[in-house]
C-alpha cells in the first residue's frame, strides 16, 4: 500500500513542499520559555539549517504561532513532553460528565496533531459533520483570540486537509464498519489517520468487545485512539478513583484524564498514565472557552 502524503503546504511563492515542521528550515525564533523546552521534537528533527534562507515576517509570525500552539497543548502542560504519550495502538480517555467539555478537550488534542501535520480522524456518534466542524471552528477561534492572533485564515486552511470527520449513528457504529471505511480511505490514498478521536461511544457493559477490536485495528494501522467517555453522577467510582465506565476496561487504556467541575472552575486531573496520578489538579480549564487557563 502506498504511503500517503495527502497534503502539501504552499508558501508565499506558491512552492509546494511537504509540510512537516521538520522539513522546514529552522526559524529564527525569539527564545522563550516555550521554544526552549527540552527534547522538543521540533528542534531535534529536520535537515541542517539553510543560512541563506530569508524568513518573511508574516511567515515567521505564522510559524511562531503554530509552534507556540503546539507547545501550549494540554498534554504538554500536564507534564507530558510530547503529544505522543500514547504508543501505537494506545488508548487514551477523557472522562467527564455531560457538558463539562470532553469534546472541546478532544478537539484541542486534535489541533495539537493537526498543527504537527499529522492526520486526525474524528469519529462522532450522533453529531452531524456540520456540528463537529463547528466545534473545531469554535475552539480555533478561541485559541486565536487567546493568543491575540489576527490573520488565522492561512493556518486554518493549512491544517484542514489533515482532518477527516466521520459520523455514525450510535446504533450504526461497529468496528468492522469502521475498518471498511478506513480501507476505502487508505487503499485509494485519500487519508491515513495517525490518530483517531471517538466521541459518543457508550461505555456500557458491552463495550469491551468493540474496544478490543479497535485495539487490534489501531495496532494494525499504527494509530492511537482517544475517547470521550461520559460519566454519570449516580455511578460510584472504583476504589482507586477510576470512574465507573472505565472500571472494567481500564487495562486497555494507557492514559486517562478526568475533567471535573469544582465550583466555577474545571479541573483537569490525570488518572492514569504519564505523570503519576495526583490528588491535586494539574490544570484548570476556562469554562467559557474550554481552553487551558493556567498551570495549577
Amino acid at each position: 500500500m502506498a504511503r500517503i502524503e495527502r497534503f502539501e503546504d504552499t508558501d508565499e511563492s506558491g512552492t509546494r513542499h511537504k509540510a512537516h515542521i521538520s522539513a522546514q528550515a529552522p526559524l529564527r525564533v525569539k527564545p522563550s520559555r516555550h521554544n526552549l523546552a527540552p527534547n522538543s521534537e521540533l528542534e531535534t528533527r529536520g535537515p541542517k539549517p539553510d543560512p541563506a534562507r530569508v524568513i518573511y515576517l508574516k511567515k515567521r509570525n505564522f510559524n511562531m504561532f503554530k509552534k507556540d500552539l503546539i507547545l501550549r497543548n494540554p498534554l504538554r502542560l500536564m507534564g507530558h513532553e510530547t503529544e505522543d504519550i500514547l504508543p501505537k495502538g494506545g488508548f487514551g480517555a477523557v472522562l467527564a460528565r455531560a457538558g463539562v467539555g470532553k469534546t472541546a478537550f478532544l478537539v484541542q488534542l486534535a489541533f495539537n496533531s493537526l498543527l504537527r501535520n499529522k492526520n486526525v480522524l474524528h469519529i462522532s456518534l450522533d453529531d452531524p459533520v456540520k456540528k463537529v466542524c463547528l466545534w473545531y471552528e469554535e475552539v480555533f477561534r478561541n485559541i486565536a483570540h487567546q493568543y491575540n492572533v489576527k490573520q488565522t485564515d492561512q493556518l486554518w486552511e493549512a491544517i484542514l486537509p489533515y482532518r477527516f470527520i466521520m459520523t455514525f449513528k450510535v446504533e450504526g457504529f461497529s468496528v468492522p464498519k469502521l475498518e471498511e471505511r478506513l480501507t476505502d480511505l487508505t487503499e485509494q490514498g485519500i487519508f491515513l489517520p495517525h490518530m483517531i478521536l471517538i466521541d459518543g461511544l457508550p461505555f456500557d457493559e458491552t463495550v469491551r468487545k468493540p474496544l478490543s477490536d479497535l485495539k487490534t485495528l489501531a495496532i494494525n494501522h499504527s494509530m492511537h485512539v482517544w475517547f470521550a467517555v461520559r460519566i454519570h453522577r449516580h455511578e460510584r467510582p472504583g476504589p482507586d478513583g477510576m470512574p465507573a465506565p472505565l472500571l472494567q476496561v481500564a487495562d486497555l487504556f494507557e492514559v486517562a484524564i478526568q475533567l471535573q467541575p469544582v465550583g466555577k472552575e474545571i479541573h483537569v486531573r490525570g488518572l492514569k498514565g504519564g505523570t503519576a496520578p495526583s490528588d491535586h489538579p494539574a490544570l484548570l480549564l476556562d469554562p467559557s472557552t474550554m481552553l487551558i487557563k493556567d498551570k495549577g
Partner: protein
C-alpha cells in the same frame, strides 16, 4: 377580488431536488379548483405539471422559474411561488423568499433532510420566513417520518413537532391522524378529493394520545392559557391551534404534516394548516430604506390607503412584452396609476395588472398591499422598488452572489447572432446572477453564472425560445489574483519632452487584506500630492484591478496606502496622477508576490453506502478535500471542498460510478490559492491563447 388582508397568504414551497414540490403544487391547484386535471412531472400523458410551464422544465422534470400562482381555499386567497430545487438556481429561491410571508418545507420521507433542504432552510432563516414542514412520499418504501422529524431537529435545529401521524406506511399508507382534532382522515375518490373523517383506529390510539401530549407540551411553552387548560385537561382545538400558530410565526416551532402528494393524500389538511398557521401579510413586519433620510429603515404598514411601496422580484419576457412580478408591501397598485421607479427616478403608468396562474393570467383592476401579481409593459430590472410619486423608499437590496463560471458562445449564423443578443438582454435582466459581456481581446461573447447547469439551461433556452444556435467554448472558471506580501512603490510619471508636460509621483505601499476586495487609503500630509489629485490616484489604482498584471484575472483583497508623492505646478494633472498610480501599482504588485485564487465549491454527495469509497475516490481525483462522511443507515452523505475547475462533467461521472443512485449538490464556498502546478499550467495556457489571438 376580495380585500381582506387577514385572509391572504403568500407562501413558497421549498425543498431538495425531487422531494415533490411541483407535484404538491399541482395537487394544491387541483383541490383549490384552479386546474381540473392532474398532470404529473414526467407523467405518461406528456402534459407535465402545470407549474413547470417551460418546455425545458417539463422535459427535464425540474422546475427552473419561480412561477407565481394564485388559488383560494376556505375563503382564503393563497399566492404560491413554486421555487426551484437545484442549487444553481438559488437566486430564484432567494428572490421568492424575499417576498414571501410563509413557507412549506417539503421533505422526502425516505431521503429526509438532504443537502439542499439545509441550504433552503438557511435562506428561510435569513429572511425570517416562518414555515411548516410537509413530509412527502410516505407511500414510498423505506418511508420513516419519525426519522425525518428527528433530522429536522438535529440537522436544521428546528423545534419540529408532529401535528399528524401516518396511518400505515409505505404501500399501506392510508391517511393521517390529526393530533389537534384527534380524528383519522382518509382520502377517497380517484384523486383523493373526498375526505372521510373517522375515529382514530384502535391500534393507533395510544400512539396518537402520546404524540398529542408531546404537541401540547411543546405548544404550551408559548401560551399560558394552553398550559392552564392542559393542567385542567380541557384543551380545545382553537386554543391549541392558536398556541401553535404563535410559535410558528416566531419560528420557534415547526409543525410537521405528512402525506403523499403523488398518491393524493394529506394535501387538504396541509392547505388548512396554511390558512390556520402561516402568517397573513399584516403579521409580518416589512422594512424599507428611506432614501431621503440617509437610508434609515422605515417600517411599512399594510394599510392599502397609504402611499404605494411595491417590489419587482421577477421579470419575464413573454409574447406580449415584459411581465414584471410584483409584491405590494404598502398602499394599493391600480390600473392607470402613475408610479415611480426609485432606482431610475422615472415615472411609469400602470397599464395592465394581472394575477398569475402559471402560464395563464387573469386581469385585475387593483392590487392592495400584501398581494402578489404582475404588471405588463413596465421597463425595470428585478429588485427595483416602485412607489407613489413623492415617496423616497426602497426595499433593501437582495444579496446577489458573483458568478463563478463563464463560457464563450459563438453564434452559428447571422440570424442566431441577432437572436442571441435579444435572449441575453432578457436573461440578464431577469436573473442578476447571469451575466453576459464581450471579451475585448477575442471578441467572443462570454456568459457567466452560478454553475454548469445554470449556463446549460440558458443555452438550451436560447435554442428553444429564440431559435439561436450557438457553439460553445470550454467553460472557464472565474479565477482571481491577489497579493500575499506587503510591498512598497515609488513611481514617477514624467513626460516633459515636448508639448504639454505630464508629471506625477506616487509613493506608498500595498498589502493583502481579507475582509474587502479593495481599500484605498491616503496618508498624504503636507500636500505632497495636492488634495484635488488624490481621487485621480484612487481611480488609477482601481483601473488596474479589473485585469491583474499576472494573469489578467481581476485583482481582489488588496489595500493600497499612499503616503508620499510630488507634483508640478503646471505639468501635474488628473491624467498624470492616474498614469503614475498605474505605474506604481505595477511596480508594487510585482514585488508583492501575486498568486492566483480559484473558486472552491462545497460539494455534497448523497450515495448508497456501497458506493462510498468510489465516490470519495472521484472527489479525491478532482483535487477535492473531503471534509467528512455522514453515515445515515443505507445512505451516506459525503461533504467535500472541490475546485470548480475540476467539477465539469462531474454529474456524468457520478452517475456512471454509482449506477445513477447518487446525487450531488454544489455551491460556492470560498476562494483558495491555486497549487503551483496548476498555476503554471494556467500561465502556459494563457500565454498560448495570447499567442493565438496575436
Amino acid at each position: 377580488m376580495k380585500n381582506d388582508i387577514q385572509k391572504v397568504r403568500n407562501i413558497g414551497i421549498s425543498a431538495h431536488i425531487d422531494a415533490g414540490k411541483t407535484t404538491l403544487t399541482e395537487r394544491i391547484l387541483y383541490y383549490t379548483r384552479r386546474i381540473h386535471a392532474i398532470h404529473d412531472v414526467k407523467g405518461k400523458d406528456g402534459v407535465g405539471a402545470t407549474m413547470d410551464f417551460m418546455e425545458l422544465e417539463k422535459e427535464r422534470g425540474i422546475t427552473i422559474t419561480s412561477a407565481a400562482t394564485y388559488c383560494e381555499w376556505q375563503g382564503h386567497e393563497i399566492n404560491i411561488i413554486d421555487t426551484p430545487g437545484h442549487v444553481d438556481f438559488t437566486i430564484e429561491v432567494e428572490r421568492s423568499l424575499r417576498v414571501l410571508d410563509g413557507g412549506i418545507l417539503v421533505l422526502c420521507s425516505v431521503g429526509g433532510v438532504q443537502s439542499q433542504s439545509i441550504t433552503v432552510d438557511q435562506q428561510m432563516a435569513r429572511y425570517k420566513v416562518p414555515c411548516i414542514a410537509f413530509i412527502n412520499k410516505c407511500d414510498r418504501s423505506g418511508a420513516n417520518p419519525a426519522r425525518v422529524i428527528d433530522q429536522l431537529k438535529e440537522k436544521l435545529g428546528h423545534n419540529a413537532v408532529a401535528v399528524q401521524i401516518p396511518i400505515g406506511l409505505e404501500a399501506d399508507f392510508n391517511g393521517v391522524v390529526d393530533l389537534v382534532s384527534m380524528k383519522a382522515i382518509y382520502f377517497d375518490g380517484d384523486n383523493g378529493e373526498h375526505l372521510r373523517i373517522e375515529p382514530i383506529p384502535q391500534d393507533l390510539l395510544s400512539e396518537a394520545m402520546q404524540r398529542r401530549e408531546v404537541l401540547i407540551d411543546a405548544a404550551s411553552m408559548f401560551s399560558d392559557e394552553l398550559t392552564e387548560a392542559a393542567l385542567e385537561g380541557e384543551v380545545t382545538e382553537d386554543l391549541l391551534l392558536q398556541a401553535i400558530r404563535k410559535a410558528t410565526l416566531t419560528r420557534e416551532m415547526t409543525p410537521v404534516f405528512m402525506g403523499s402528494a403523488y398518491k393524493n393524500k394529506g394535501v387538504q389538511p396541509l392547505l388548512d394548516a396554511v390558512t390556520k398557521l402561516l402568517p397573513c401579510p399584516s403579521d409580518i413586519e416589512n422594512q424599507a430604506l428611506d432614501t431621503d433620510n440617509d437610508e434609515v429603515p422605515v417600517t411599512l404598514s399594510c394599510d392599502p390607503q397609504k402611499p404605494l411601496v411595491a417590489f419587482a422580484f421577477k421579470l419575464e419576457d413573454g409574447p406580449y412584452g415584459q411581465l414584471t412580478y410584483i409584491r405590494v408591501y404598502q398602499g394599493t397598485l391600480a390600473k392607470g396609476d402613475t408610479i415611480v421607479n426609485v432606482r431610475t427616478g422615472k415615472k411609469v403608468k400602470v397599464g395592465r395588472v394581472v394575477r398569475m396562474h402559471a402560464a395563464q393570467m387573469e386581469d385585475i383592476e387593483v392590487m392592495p398591499s400584501g398581494y402578489i401579481g404582475a404588471l405588463f409593459g413596465i421597463d425595470c430590472a428585478s429588485g427595483d422598488t416602485f412607489v407613489s410619486p413623492g415617496i423616497g423608499l426602497t426595499m433593501t437590496s437582495m444579496h446577489v452572489p458573483d458568478p463563478v463560471i463563464s463560457l464563450a458562445i459563438i453564434p452559428k449564423d447571422h440570424k442566431a447572432e441577432v437572436n442571441i443578443s435579444k435572449a441575453l438582454a432578457r436573461f440578464t435582466k431577469e436573473d442578476p446572477t447571469f451575466k453576459a459581456y464581450v471579451n475585448d481581446q477575442t471578441g467572443d461573447t462570454i456568459i457567466s453564472g452560478m454553475g454548469e447547469l445554470h449556463l446549460e439551461v440558458y443555452l438550451e433556452r436560447m435554442r428553444r425560445e429564440y431559435n439561436a444556435e450557438v457553439t460553445t467554448g470550454m467553460p472557464r472558471v472565474a479565477y482571481r489574483e491577489t497579493i500575499t506580501n506587503r510591498a512598497e512603490f515609488n513611481y514617477t510619471h514624467k513626460k516633459q519632452t515636448g508639448g504639454a508636460g505630464q508629471f506625477a509621483r506616487v509613493a506608498g505601499y500595498m498589502e493583502p487584506i481579507t475582509e474587502e476586495d479593495f481599500v484605498f487609503e491616503s496618508k498624504i500630509v503636507g500636500g505632497a500630492i495636492p488634495t484635488q489629485f488624490i481621487p485621480a490616484c484612487e481611480k488609477g489604482f482601481r483601473k488596474c484591478l479589473a485585469k491583474g498584471p499576472k494573469m489578467e484575472f481581476p485583482v481582489t483583497g488588496i489595500k493600497v496606502v499612499i503616503n508620499d508623492g510630488s507634483s508640478h505646478p503646471v505639468d501635474s494633472s488628473d491624467m498624470a496622477f492616474q498614469a503614475a498610480a498605474r505605474g506604481a501599482f505595477l511596480e508594487g504588485y510585482a514585488k508583492a508576490k501575486p498568486v492566483i485564487h480559484e473558486p472552491i465549491m462545497k460539494v455534497v454527495v448523497e450515495t448508497p453506502v456501497e458506493f462510498q469509497g468510489t465516490v470519495m475516490g472521484t472527489l479525491n481525483q478532482r483535487r477535492g478535500m473531503i471534509v467528512g462522511t455522514q453515515d445515515e443507515g443505507h445512505m451516506c452523505v459525503i461533504e467535500a471542498q472541490v475546485p470548480l475547475a475540476e467539477m465539469f462533467g462531474y454529474s456524468t461521472v457520478l452517475r456512471s460510478a454509482t449506477q445513477g443512485k447518487a446525487q450531488f449538490t454544489m455551491e460556492f464556498a470560498t476562494y483558495r490559492q491555486v497549487p503551483k502546478g496548476v498555476a503554471d499550467e494556467l500561465i502556459k495556457k494563457a500565454a498560448e491563447e495570447k499567442k493565438n489571438v496575436a
